[in-house]
Assembly symmetry: C2
Homo-oligomer: 453 residues x 2
């Protein structure tokens, strides 16, 4: 009898051995871009519910000082609580990155844990980058492994995020491959996060990323100190896939390790809404510009989507919170139609109060599209069907939403986005935002990452 | 259309409204007994792997002082980290309590969280007792609700423990029913814990209870501060049962609230092994005493068990760690046969090294028994079939393992057990153990629980 292939072991060996000098320059540069995008997303949450509550709990339960920065407050704590608060912060305004085929938001779970551990351990920018890449490469493959069935009930960023954070922190701790397996075991057995909160517009999305980053970090530190974990937490008979997936494919765990850089496939978010709304939003914007349509010219819109969009967005008819509005296809398309964009300001100032947006929302419905669904999650195709008031039926199609790897944001666009995010909450002055940007663009040369500010 | 019954809401209303003066005297007394049994279980883990590693992480990531006691070290920290370490400690030596039909170990997740919060909030012994009862009543019903399918893959004490801890702490925080629903939502979406670690004898069992107690506590504190959670985390379409059970029965969530005291159904552990081994161990001991058999008279033993025992115990053939030995039916029956008991000392000193135990282990096998399986998990029937060297086939049967509600431990036996546990690790002197026992027997009158020692 042949022993079953040890997928968890193979993945652990790769990430435990990953060195900065193995990374292609494009991967280093993209990691800096993702890091800036992440830090700005965290800053944008300053003062917004429920982030002050998370800060309060960390103050009450964590140390009053420490090596790791809490970005929204610029206070310091232990690595555990800094990771916890920063992860909650960076997943609030729906501006953090997304990897398509894994449906994982890697930045919001990998970077908070990696930055906190790097600050705790006195690591360099290059070491932070290599560890973050390890977290992305592992997390993306684990998300792909767990498949679409997992995402129907579980918030992949929450569950897989725990493992991705553990890998990044484990790399900073120089875990051996055997210790990395233990870290994955301890992380995987703490992996949690259900979509149920979404229908109530509850605050769990931030709790999910906080939970993932902090407990993933703990799993790696515990592994370093000799705590063991399951050896096959991913593919074992009572492991993660056995409990939480019905279409898991273990081959995805080790897909082209070292030659495919999955981090490069990560998308930046352009609109401030759930990523599932972006393909239709871009397709509608493109169609309206092409045809010279105004919102008032439109009688009805069918957004032709994949099943996952219906699962995630379908729970809410009329949003009552800004956060819920970001998961409302009708509201997002309404902002696009009326304002030409769906940014943080549009959501805050108009998503719930502008009657034109509400009127447009009532004209929108989603329909499952076989072509779109078949391409998902590898490709996120945008397809809309618009009926005009004068009786025409028009079709919009866009194959790569703005921010996708094939339709990327430039460094100038990323800088602009980062400045807007920092400005939105007042978390950093223009000068501080500029300094942060400059620091991140030279992250690979930084001997220390002890202070982002 | 009628709205579906709001089970989570009903359960939350009951536990949020539970007052000490509603509790029957027997419930108060039993809670004290369970609390002593729990505290002694925690003390017994002092110095044993991986508890020093947990203490080290809490020291590194938590505050250097605080309101809440860490029992094994008699240091203090925040409520979060005290709950984390005490929960890990109390689930190590396999002496903590078990509720049969939910297959939940309530003490190891409820008491660490409740004690830490009570110390943080300056609560009385009566308030601690009422909160703990709330945690037991909710946790047991949630465990029953999730059913046997859940327990096949998930460690119910880990998953349900998060909610049970949140309820106990939520009661101490005087959460309103609406806040209690939020606490359940935040706890349930962090619920995690897979059995996969068992086949590798990994350290996750302690991590599971630590994770449950600390994150359950966090869920309640966050709810108090205004953080919301899913309103139907238990029974919702993307909730706990949807993701982690295929035989969930929502009616169990609200089963005779206020008239059935499920806490009274909790069993004390007599042997130091996995509870799934106890029915067969007691049946074998009974048979050997009845027939005057020695271990050397026995050629073969068939332990007739329920499926859950095979699922949990079947992964390991020959244990290599003491902890694994506690999950080895053959080893447990070997200790019973050779030493007449399977206590902490027998496991530490003989389970892995005594060739007579190893020889007996090789004679034991498990077989699924329809009667035993049909009664489980409500009743844990002990059935063994012994073949003697002189060719006889003998049957042993015992319907209530020692420690079950129908075959309980007296206060004198509980005191003796507590003293043995404290002595085992040297965590408390005989005088300190006596003082602890006296303090617990008057817990219901204590105006403060700030210090157990």
């Amino acid at each position: 009898m042949t022993a079953p292939r040890a997928y968890t072991q193979e993945l652990a060996e790769f990430v435990a051995g990953l060195r900065y000098d193995q990374l292609p320059p494009a991967v280093v540069a993209r990691t800096e871009e993702l890091f800036l995008d992440w830090a700005a997303s965290a800053l944008a949450a300053k003062g917004l519910h429920p982030i002050p509550q998370f800060e309060g709990f960390a103050r009450a339960m964590g140390p009053a000082s420490g090596p790791a920065e809490i970005l929204v407050s610029r206070t310091r704590s232990s690595a555990f609580f800094a990771a916890w608060v920063n992860a909650a912060s960076s997943h609030l305004v729906e501006q953090d990155d997304l990897h398509n085929s894994s449906v994982l938001h890697p930045a919001t779970v990998v970077f908070p844990a990696a930055l906190a551990a790097a600050q705790d351990l006195g690591k360099s920018g290059a070491e932070l980058i290599a560890a973050s890449v390890a977290g992305y490469e592992a997390g993306i493959r684990i998300g792909e492994f767990l498949g679409r069935s997992h995402y129907k009930i579980f918030h992949t960023t929450a569950t897989v995020g725990t493992l991705a954070a553990a890998v990044a922190v484990g790399r900073l701790l120089d875990l051996t491959p055997a210790q990395m397996v233990n870290a994955l075991g301890s992380a995987g057995t703490q992996a949690a996060g259900l979509w149920e909160f979404l229908r109530d517009a509850a605050d769990s999305k931030q709790l999910h990323t906080a939970h993932a980053a902090a407990n993933g970090l703990a799993a790696a530190y515990l592994a370093k100190s000799g705590v063991t974990g399951a050896q096959r937490i991913l593919e074992g008979a009572q492991g993660l896939a056995a409990g939480m997936s019905s279409d898991a494919d273990p081959a995805r765990l080790v897909d082209r390790l070292g030659s495919r850089w999955a981090l490069l496939e990560t998308s930046f978010k352009f609109h401030s809404s759930c990523r599932h709304t972006h393909p239709a939003a871009d397709a509608l914007l493109d169609l309206m510009q092409r045809e010279g349509l105004a919102a008032s010219d439109i009688a009805a819109v069918i957004a032709r989507v994949h099943q996952g969009a219906i699962d995630v967005l379908g729970a809410v008819d009329v949003p009552v919170t800004v956060h819920q509005a970001k998961f409302s296809m009708g509201t997002v398309l309404g902002l696009i139609a009326v304002y030409g964009k769906a940014g943080l300001e549009e959501f805050r100032d108009h998503a719930l109060s502008d009657p034109r947006v509400a009127a447009f929302r009532a004209k929108v419905r989603m329909a499952l599209d076989p072509e779109v669904d078949g391409a998902y999650p590898r490709r996120w195709l945008g397809r809309v069907e618009v009926t005009t008031l004068d009786g025409r039926t028009l079709r919009g199609a866009l194959d790569e939403p703005k921010g996708d790897p094939g339709n990327p944001l430039s460094r100038a666009e990323l800088e602009d986005k980062a400045r807007r995010l920092a400005r939105f909450s007042g978390a950093a002055s223009e000068a501080e935002a500029s300094a942060l940007i400059a620091r991140v663009w030279s992250l690979h040369e930084a001997s220390s990452v002890a202070s982002l500010f």
